[in-house]
Symmetry: C2
């Protein structure tokens, strides 16, 4: 799957508060769908769907323990997001830095009007 597609799924997965709750719970330890469903006011099936979304996003993996299928958080996927975010945050900050420098120069020579876009 492309990085573009992975980003789509990861961001979309974390856009839902129920799924963020599930991630938060799994950060504290593995859990089954049934256990994950307890604190949520919805059916186990609905939680199962949410887990499936997290699985498709690569944020959760499942194993097999008899009839149980514990969910496990794959925290490395977070790196994909932070990498994307940091890239453009830095780019924006770099731009601000340059813009500040320009404005400073304009202050020094207060005779021309700016053309900064």
């Amino acid at each position: 799957m492309s990085a573009e597609n992975r980003l789509n799924r990861v961001f979309a997965a974390l856009a839902d508060p129920t799924r963020r709750d599930i991630v938060a719970r799994l950060a504290d330890g593995d859990a089954t769908v049934g256990e994950l469903a307890v604190p949520h006011d919805m059916t186990v099936q609905a939680v199962s769907k949410h887990v499936h979304v997290l699985e498709q996003a690569g944020l959760v993996s499942r194993s097999r323990d008899a009839q149980r299928r514990p969910c496990h958080l794959e925290a490395e996927v977070f790196d994909l997001m932070t990498a994307w975010i940091e890239r453009y945050r830095r780019q924006a900050e770099e731009r601000f830095r340059r813009l500040d420098a320009v404005l400073e120069r304009m202050d020094e020579t207060t005779e021309q009007e700016g053309t900064a876009s």
Copy 2:
């Protein structure tokens, strides 16, 4: 607006590749809706909707320049996401660290007791 709601909107906003493209473009400098629409194979109205979503998420602000309304990237909102992500990444890593310690202790105990089965 609650932090929960802000997170919903920010993650959902960045789940769309068109909107991530817009953010990437704006990291390089402010732009109008018309300019943002050029590289995208869709109508200006559609791009306008995407910008509106980014605006609601707090990722973009607009100003007024005659009949133009330039879009400006508000990169500080990224902090909200990175804070959430880092929190649970660290929690998961801490859990792994403790688990590793437990497993190490179990290895030591096994060696001491010899446990010939």
